[in-house]
Amino acid sequence: MESRNKRVLIVDDNVALARVTQFALDGAGFETEMAYNGRLALEAAQRKHFDIVITDQQMPEMTGIELCRALRLLSEYAKCPIILLTAKGLELELPRLRKELDIEATFPKPFSPSAIVKKVDKLLAVNA
């Protein structure tokens, strides 16, 4: 399918988790790249074009939400689908944030990588 050429940016300071997520997405035919913090993610996002960004929330220096805001300021990523992985209890604020930053989906940790893959498929199929 066409969506399988899409590029995914995985942002997480938890290397192991990023790795297994990458593994699942690679297996589904996506092209993936990993960034271990927000700053590196922005750099990567501007170097290459990504069709979707999956980011952890709790990271040092820049949180996932902060990364989202920064990405939205970039014209290229204004409409890019973003998935947020949350470990902390942001439950109360999520609806508002999702609206404000146009976050497509949130996955609380621990999550199942196959579910992530399914979601990515769905989102990119729509945009295709």
């Binding site: 297994v20 699942a24 902390k88 940790k109 621990p110 999550f111 199942s112 990588p113």
Partner: protein
Amino acid sequence: MVLRSPNLGFPRKIVAYYLFFCLVAICWLAVGVFVVSHTIASSRTTSACLSRLGKASAAIEIEYVRHGVENLQKLLERSQISTGLAYGAIVSPDGTCLAHTDANLVGDQIVDPTGERLRWGDVTSVHFVDTRGRILDEYRVALEADNSQFGSLLFAVHKPSFGSTIRETAQVAPLAILIPLLLIAAGAVILARLARPVADIESQLRAIAAQTPTDEVQLKAMRATDAASSGWNRVVESYERSRGNSSGNDLNDRLAEAIQLRNKNQLDDILQSLPDGVAVTDVEGRITYTNRAIGALMGSYDDSENLNDDWSTGKTISDILDLDDQDLFSTEPSSRVAVSEINRDAGDSTRVLRVARQPLDDQWSHGYIWSVRDVTQQKLSEKMRDQFMDTATHELRTPLANIKAYAETLATCDSIEVSEQREFCNTINSEVTRLARFVDDLLSISSMEVGALILERQKVELSRLFDEVVSKVQPLMQQKSIDFVVDIPEKIGELKLDKDKMSAVIVNLLGNAAKYTPDSGRVEMRVAREPSQLQISIEDTGFGISPEELPKVFDKFFRSEDRRVLEEVGTGLGLSLAVEVVRMHGGDITVESEIDKGSTFLISIPIE
């Protein structure tokens, strides 16, 4: 009568008595003087008369012998002039008047007067009242010539009357009476003056005595002129004081007042010694009371520790507190407790103060009671705890997320290579270990909190303990290429310890040393056994600890604010646990450190 009058005042009574008796004495004296002079006068008259009589009779007898009765009249007349007789007469034995001072009576018959008769030798006296009512004394003596009596010579004198005596004495002794009278009068005045203060006291006492028993006793002070009046004034003063200001001098009232005053003072003392600040304002916020603490907390004391102008009553509380919270300043009557937090500079740090306003509704006033509490420490603890919670959730969720992700992948993925499978399983394994260690730490901390941390001491061979420790931390050291030096004497011997907990502590310290030391640094563990104690020192060449943070390093949840430290995962619990375990062994743990140079932790455990 003076003696009987009940209305006469005290001094007047004394003076009256004094005057009365003096005057009675004077009168008695006057009467005595009068009687004495009267007696003297009359006896003088009698003796004068008698002596004249004698002389005259002798002269008459001689004249009779010479010339007979011819010149008797002339002789007699001469006698009267010189002796002041009432009358004089020569009477023949048959009663014929041969001569008389009153010439008309010559030749008449003279009757012997009747009256009191007295006889002095040859002289006979008669005391009688004549026809004209005059009191006379007649003295008669026989006239003899040639041994025959030819007649009698009569001299009569007036007895001095009272009137004449008075006239005489009045002439003679006016001063003798007058001067004592003046002295007595002066004495009366002085007596009155001396008695005045006592008089005032006495009149007050009489007034009190006249009151009914239920009336209150009133004492008035007087002008202090002498000791008695000063003493009285003191009595009045002391009486007034013990009576107090209350309307009643009932013992119960006074007691209640004293208790109330003591309670009020005690209450004030209590409020003044509270560490929390307390202020009372009226409904408009004007301050009516403050305790010492509120000034200190709000930073209102100047150097001399005097409450400065801020707190003088009259200022409003909004003048002093810059509260953003409008709730606290709403003047709508509210029975809610309003709370807010404010920051206040205190030297080179900032205090966090919790301000609460509560409506005050007592019988005297409506208003508010404000309390100010320093919650800086509390806030700090809360912040640390929040930090810990963040770390804990992260440290728990991360391994779980990893384990789940890898397990699920292994379970569902069709195309995993064997090497990848092994890799995934190893990851799961190490994540579990990581999780387990963290859970252990958490459990130790919890049991320490609850006080359930129990040491299970056994005889432990120290060389084995250290071997285990070293093998545990070796991978971590290698990972960061840290030069790990271990210096332990060969025959280190045995010691009674809780092996698990003690090795956990040493592992923790070594782990910290590795964590907070940059790659290719150095960590050295040295063990020394002295007669009285076992010493373990762990030295690193890591980030070091700043002097401000050094004392807090062993606090629960404490994590350095150094960015380099925060980047490493840590709970802030390891060192507080270490301290607890070491102390339970009877030992101590200390640290020395220098920023960017490194730290040295020293554990010493006594050997019993």
